[in-house]
């Protein structure tokens, strides 16, 4: 099994970077993190048929989202730009995306996530709303979830995002790593508040628990990631004094809540076979199944974390095609 060289360089670079930022006392070098993070501005001029713009969806919370849309066919030169022009298609999936970074790293305008969101628009023919949620350790649970919830409410109330076929906003929640974890919590809250979410997409979602699973023991330190850092990020995100069986970390663990009977969206859970927390991710999928919820598990045996960041491997295309089918009504 072979990882393309540039992917190896990219992920090793992240690993190195992240090692410099986590301090043993639980604090985080935010200044160095922001300095090192490669960011890109939004671009209302279409690039490869996709344009983006940032919206401050909540002034008091200073919550920003970056919105990605396909360019309008009638106006290839966007001099008359109407960013929030109503959607023109019968059906357009709106993907609310939560970037990864173990709750501490990255932003909606990080280059890797800007690129990923653009690819999602192109492949899924969707509109993507990437949420710039508050990060740990400065902002612990439940800040990221609250921001996700705000974003969901905002998206669901935008008339310009409604599909013409039924004048409804067809929302999918998607995220990788901590973003996947946020998807679960926001979907749960949506179900309780009866806001309809059409589906959840969890890419290498970040879950855990007090127990040390087989995969954690076997893969510790082997493929970019180690148990001790995972612990650090949970300590940074969860409320002080809490352990990893907190339901935010371990939704189907001893303190988890049953999802039986809840109108939860269908889920697509993608697990990388070389990710040390895969046992937790598989347990999540199983937990959904046992609660009678619809779930599709995509297990990629030879994939490492971050495989979806560059499109030069088969896993990338497999997953993108699955996501595309998942969000478009003819596929399931």
């Amino acid at each position: 099994m072979v990882v393309p060289l540039n992917m190896w360089v990219l992920i090793s670079n992240f690993k190195l970077k992240y090692n410099l930022l986590r301090r043993p006392d639980g604090t985080f070098d935010r200044h160095l993190a922001e300095f090192l993070d490669r960011k890109v501005p939004a671009n209302a001029n279409p690039v490869d048929g996709i344009f983006s713009f940032d919206v401050i969806i909540d002034r008091t919370m200073n919550l920003l989202c970056r919105i990605y849309r396909p360019a309008f066919t009638e106006e290839p030169q966007p001099s008359l730009i109407d960013l929030e022009k109503p959607v023109d298609a019968e059906f357009v999936p709106v993907i609310v995306f939560f970037h990864g970074g173990s709750f501490a790293h990255s932003s909606a305008n990080s280059a890797i996530y800007d690129t990923l969101c653009r690819r999602l628009v192109g492949i899924c023919k969707a509109i993507v709303v990437s949420v710039n949620y508050r990060r740990a350790p400065e902002n612990r649970y439940p800040c990221a979830y609250d921001d996700g919830w705000l974003a969901l409410k905002w998206v669901s109330s935008r008339s310009w995002l409604q599909s013409k076929i039924d004048s409804k906003v067809h929302i999918f929640l998607a995220g990788d790593s901590s973003g996947g974890n946020i998807v679960h919590s926001v979907a749960l809250r949506a179900a309780e508040a009866e806001i309809e979410v059409s589906g959840n997409i969890l890419l290498n979602p970040m879950f855990g628990g007090e127990e040390r699973t087989e995969s954690e023991k076997k893969l510790d330190g082997k493929y970019f990631v180690g148990i001790r850092e995972r612990d650090w990020y949970w300590r940074a995100f969860l409320p002080e004094g809490e352990n990893r069986d907190h339901p935010a970390c371990n939704p189907f663990g001893p303190r988890g809540k049953s999802l039986e009977g809840i109108k939860f969206p269908k889920s697509l859970v993608v697990v990388a076979g070389l990710d040390l927390i895969q046992d937790w991710q598989l347990a999540y999928a199983k937990g959904l199944e046992k609660a009678g919820q619809e779930v599709k598990l995509l297990f990629l045996e030879q994939a490492t974390i971050g495989f979806y960041l560059l499109p030069n491997n088969n896993h990338f295309y497999t997953v993108m095609n699955e996501i595309s089918s998942f969000v478009n009504p003819n596929g399931k």
Binding site: R38, I56, S79, L80
Partner: protein, 588 residues
């Protein structure tokens, strides 16, 4: 302890040939034995970058991937061997230009004692063959030349693409919640601008009337409504052939002052420039700052105080302030100079001031600045260079003559701050659109960050003048010709300057400065060695630093000589005209 080591200039031999490639000098300074390590990429033709990594924000040549991978592994081994390195690299070392991954990794390696890493396949002192490091390195899960006996690297077959030259087409928009009439207004503005571009004055004129009416139905206290009013006025003025309203120097100064107080943009520019100047002046006893727009000299007290606190004592500081001639007998430049001299005296910094009165920067000649060969020169340009980009054809824009004379001073550093916007595009509609989004973001930030009157209203007037100029003027009269960082990089590179990278220390301090403004929304971003101040992810001001790139002179023996401070300076002392004002030094 600057970020640049002149002795590495040998590598810069090809710098002149590779004006388009970005120089990547980086060093880490810190700890008890400061080291400088430089990794130059000057001597290659335009780079063949890995297109996928470019999409992630990293510029790495495909041909260098192996090298970078090996270095990453060595660094990994070193950090695994001794976790004590991590805090050193994190807190003590200064990082530069993270986009240049190769340089970044190399500079960190140079920070570590060379004994901390050995052959990457056999980490020494590691008894356990199943240790994480050994497994990661020798596990064979990436085909890697240093680990396999017959290197057969799996090189992805994606053809590396040049990163698209998107910057010039970039249009960044940050909006807040808009009501429908706000969107109508934007439409009308665009249509009006488009009709102006087409030369349809009557349609444009009627649209201006319509928009004035629309304004009454829109919230003009914030968002697009506020900034739209100014653009509508500017369009109206353009149609009447009025251009900008003439402004007295005094008015300019008052508005400038309030803009300075109301938001962090100028403070950020001053602060960042001062940091860089301080570093560049390290080790020099005679220093000379040339300020292209003195105004009230607000930038300089902080530098004077910082120089006073230098461990080996302050240098002799000369400040030459350029500014417009004062009307009615006053000598404003001299007054500012006196105040600064007083401050310098109070902190025991030997100080001399000279004012150069000129209505336009292009009227200044280098001999007026009286630069001496022995002094380290810093040229400081805060929002001034863009003013040199316009002209009435067939004359050429004055930038073409100004940059060479700056270069001829051989400055140790040139600090530049500019608006990060593309307001110099030839098409009117493009310019108008960019300006609309830029200023609405800027006004948005004023709104949120500065509730204090009259600072806010006067700051808005300051910006309104810029809008009027961008929308209403052409030719030499249009001075607000803002251009984005990439264009300045190219232009300064062609003029014989190379970047001095601003590092993580400057970034951190600028970020901390921002926390003094209680509003959230401001942030600093690093952009390939430059720092930008952003409002909600939109870069608005870019600060950069430059140095004269050494020119290459071939002597008959084929030896390459390098420019240093002794040659090429047109600064022989010449009796001055009466336009200068000399402030007597506090200590002679």
């Amino acid at each position: 302890m600057g970020p640049f080591d002149p002795s590495a200039a040998a590598a810069a031999a090809a710098a002149a040939a590779a004006a388009a490639s970005s120089s990547s000098s980086s060093s880490c300074s810190g700890g008890s034995a400061p080291k400088r390590h430089h990794h130059h990429h000057h001597h290659h033709p335009p780079p063949d970058l890995d297109g996928l990594l470019a999409g992630a924000g990293y510029k790495v040549r495909s041909s260098e991937l192996h090298h970078v991978a090996q270095r990453l592994e060595r660094l990994e081994t070193a950090l695994v061997n001794s976790a004590a390195h991590i805090p050193h690299l994190a807190s003590d070392a200064v990082h530069y230009n993270p986009s240049d991954l190769a340089s970044w990794v190399d500079s960190m390696l140079s920070e570590l004692p060379s004994s901390s890493f050995s052959s990457p396949c056999l980490p020494s002192g590691f008894p356990d063959p199943y240790s994480p490091a050994a497994a990661a390195l020798g596990g064979g899960w990436v085909d890697h030349p240093s680990c396999s006996p017959h290197p057969q690297p799996h090189q992805n077959v994606v053809v590396p693409q040049q990163p698209q030259p998107q910057q010039q087409q970039q249009l960044t928009v940050v909006t807040a919640l808009e009501e429908d009439s706000g969107i109508q207004l934007v439409h009308a503005l665009m249509t009006c601008a488009e009709s102006v571009q087409r030369g349809d004055a009557s349609l444009a004129g009627s649209l201006v009337e319509e928009m004035r009416a629309l304004l009454t139905r829109v919230d003009t206290s914030r968002g697009i409504g506020k900034v739209a009013g100014y653009f509508i006025d500017a369009l109206g003025r353009r149609l009447l052939g009025l251009g900008s309203a003439p402004a007295s120097a005094f008015e300019n100064e008052v508005l400038y002052h309030h803009f300075y107080e109301a938001c962090p943009y100028l403070k950020f520019a001053h602060f960042t420039a001062n940091q860089a100047i301080l570093e560049a002046f390290d080790g020099h006893d005679c220093v000379h700052v040339i300020d292209f727009n003195l105004m009230h000299g607000l930038q300089w007290p902080a530098l004077i105080q910082a120089l006073a606190l230098r461990p080996r004592g302050p240098p002799l500081l000369r400040l030459t302030g350029i500014g417009p001639p004062s009307p009615d007998g006053r000598d404003v430049l001299r007054e500012i100079g006196l105040r600064l001299a007083e401050l310098a005296r109070s902190v025991n910094v030997r100080f001399a001031f000279r004012g150069v009165a000129a209505s336009r920067l292009e009227d200044v000649k280098p001999w007026m600045l009286q630069v001496s060969p022995k002094e380290a020169v810093a040229v400081n340009s805060i929002m001034q260079l863009h003013r040199l980009l316009g002209s009435d054809p067939p004359r050429d824009p004055p930038i073409g003559s100004v940059l060479p004379w700056i270069r001829s001073l051989n400055p140790k550093i040139m600090t530049v701050a500019e608006q990060e916007a593309n307001h110099n595009r030839p098409g009117f509609l493009d310019r108008f659109t960019e300006a609309l989004y830029y200023y609405s973001t800027l006004f948005d930030s004023l709104e949120a960050a500065c509730p204090v009157q009259p600072d806010k209203a006067l700051a808005e007037m300051y910006l309104q003048r810029e809008i009027c100029n961008i929308v209403g003027c052409e030719g030499a009269a249009r001075v607000e010709r803002h251009e984005p960082l990439d264009r300045w990089r190219a232009r300064l590179g062609r003029a014989g300057f190379r970047p001095l990278h601003l590092g993580s220390n400057a970034f951190k301090q600028a970020s901390m400065l921002l926390t003094l403004f209680s509003t959230e929304g401001y942030s600093v971003e690093e952009n390939e060695g430059c720092l930008t101040l952003c409002w909600h992810s939109r870069p608005l001001i870019a600060a950069s630093a430059w140095q004269a790139a050494p020119t290459v002179v071939n002597s008959p023996a084929g030896v390459i000589n390098h420019d240093d401070n002794n040659n090429q300076l047109s600064c022989s002392p010449v009796p001055m005209l009466s336009i200068e004002t000399d402030i007597p030094s506090s200590i002679q």
